[in-house]
């Protein structure tokens, strides 16, 4: 059977999990909404955006990008759980293409993240966030977010297949926080000490967050630097580069299950 058809069947399987146990995706969603509210209203009053602009309007695109990045954790956890329980071995003994298992994960996680994006966008509209650009750039912004999620997927698949113990997924759960915060997702890099701001600006998450702000017509919090000039190109380039690295690594990790 072709990997695409088997991947579709496994996508349906992963989606059926969420129908049977809806609390997992709902909790993930509530978590993103909670973060949005905590930063938007609890901390937001103390934060000013360089270059001017409303903080909620600045924050929402950052939260969208951040929630795409947090997806790496659910991908890695799901892959590791299947490998640990012997389900992956079972699938490997079936007459299906070797990309099927990964494609099933990609299909389900992309569907989940699309729903999550739409809910967060609706939530943003409720708390006063607005798109002030044209529909074209706005759609491009959503596509860039999904592209970023796609890159995170391959990191998650690689981690889940390579380190099957619980430790690896816990490491991912912890690491997403400093990596997520060391970016322009929540605060502008220009409010950080110079060297730290430079690191944050080069975080792939910052590229996506800044590009999405620009495309939605929201305040970017950027007055100069590479993110001011070419955030959209960086938001295209970073995920493609990450995918180009982690997709082959994932394929290798899958093959190495045979070793």
């Amino acid at each position: 059977m072709t990997a695409v058809r088997a991947g579709w069947i496994l996508t349906q399987r992963n989606l059926a999990h969420w129908v049977r146990q809806p609390w997992a995706p709902i909790f993930g969603l509530m978590f993103s909404i909670m973060l949005l509210l905590v930063f938007g209203f609890l901390f937001g009053g103390a934060i000013t955006v360089p270059g001017g602009g409303d903080y909620i309007t600045f924050l929402l695109p950052g939260m969208l990008a951040l929630s795409m990045m947090f997806g790496v954790e659910s991908t890695a956890t799901a892959m590791a759980a299947d490998a640990r329980k012997g389900i992956t071995d079972r699938f490997r003994s079936l007459p299906i293409g070797s990309a099927s298992v990964a494609l099933g994960r990609v299909g389900a996680d992309m569907a989940n993240s699309t729903v999550e994006l739409l809910v967060l966008l609706a939530g943003g509209l409720l708390i006063g966030w607005r798109i002030t650009s044209d529909p074209g750039p706005a759609v491009l912004a959503v596509l860039l977010l999904l592209l970023f999620r796609f890159a995170m997927l391959w990191i998650g698949i690689f981690v889940g297949l390579s380190f099957r113990g619980d430790g690896a997924t816990m490491a991912v759960q912890v690491l997403v926080w400093p990596i997520g915060f060391l970016s322009t997702a929540i605060v502008s890099a220009e409010t950080m000490p110079g060297w730290l701001g430079a690191i944050a600006a080069w975080n792939p998450l910052s590229a996506t967050a800044s590009a999405v702000r620009e495309l939605f017509g929201n305040p970017t919090g950027i007055t100069s630097g590479p993110l001011a000039d070419s955030a959209v190109w960086l938001a295209l380039g970073w995920p493609l580069l990450l995918t180009a690295v982690f997709l082959p690594l994932s394929a290798r990790a899958y093959r190495r299950l045979r070793a």
């Binding site: 069947i9 399987r13 999990h17 012997g86 071995d89 003994s93 299950l257 045979r258 070793a259």
Partner: protein
Amino acid sequence: MNLVADGLRKRYGDVQALDGFDLEVPPGVIHGLLGPNGAGKTTAVKALATLIDVDEGVAKVAGFDVRTQAAQVRKRIGLIGQNAAVDEILGGRQNLVMFGRLYGLSTVDARAAADRLLAMFGLTEAAERAVSTYSGGMRRRLDIAAGFILTPAVLFLDEPTTGLDPRGRNEVWAAVREVAAAGTTVLLTTQYLDEADQLAARISVMNHGRVVADDTPGVLKREIGGDRVTLTIAPGEPLDELAERLGTAVGIPAVIDADTRSLTFEVGSGVTGLSRLVRALDEFGVTPEDLVLRRPTLDEVFLTLTDTPREAVK
């Protein structure tokens, strides 16, 4: 032969998991692969089921080479691994429909196959419930049903009853017999000797990555020698001293089990040894609580063939 392995070798770091593993299984029989933990049973199954590449050797399943014709092999096998590898979150029916479709059935055919298999393995009533609510035996039966969707030429069962209660074990045994009755070759690994004895037409005893004996359960039992007499000694009698004295009198060393306070003698062809033993007991004025004459168990076959000390296995 439906299943052939010739000189398989596989090394994991310092461990030689397979060290010249050979196997020949004709179509339609249940073949037992018996060995202690770490003997290499699972590695052998994984190699035959195309899950791992061996370092050396050739294996064929249903006439296809597991390394060069893996896709052909996978169409003809079902693999039931050590932990019941069915989806716990989905229902039983959902699992079977999913596996049926992955084996290439249309959704309609997969549903029909699921209903047939649920009935065959006694799971119709639990069909819609999440598998996480199933008992161990039910989960295993679903696992076997999922491996049996296309009536495979070979079904691999890796320790299918480990961790099951006696009832679950009986349910799984019935399922395995059902599968074999349909003409599927079953390769069953187990640490339980009575399981191999109950189910398998032939048994390969495995230790340190290779087969150390391969025969029918009956022949393996004969190979290990004659009958056993087991005496249960009343508390208060000196067990070690009695073992020594009886051993000398009969000319056969006693195997002492302090936990059950029993002495076992391998008496050869039965009657002579038994009568000598009874005379010696009379002479010493000892009346055992119990005296049993029996054929050797597969446990003893196994222990002799693999040179594993009795204490280590208990």
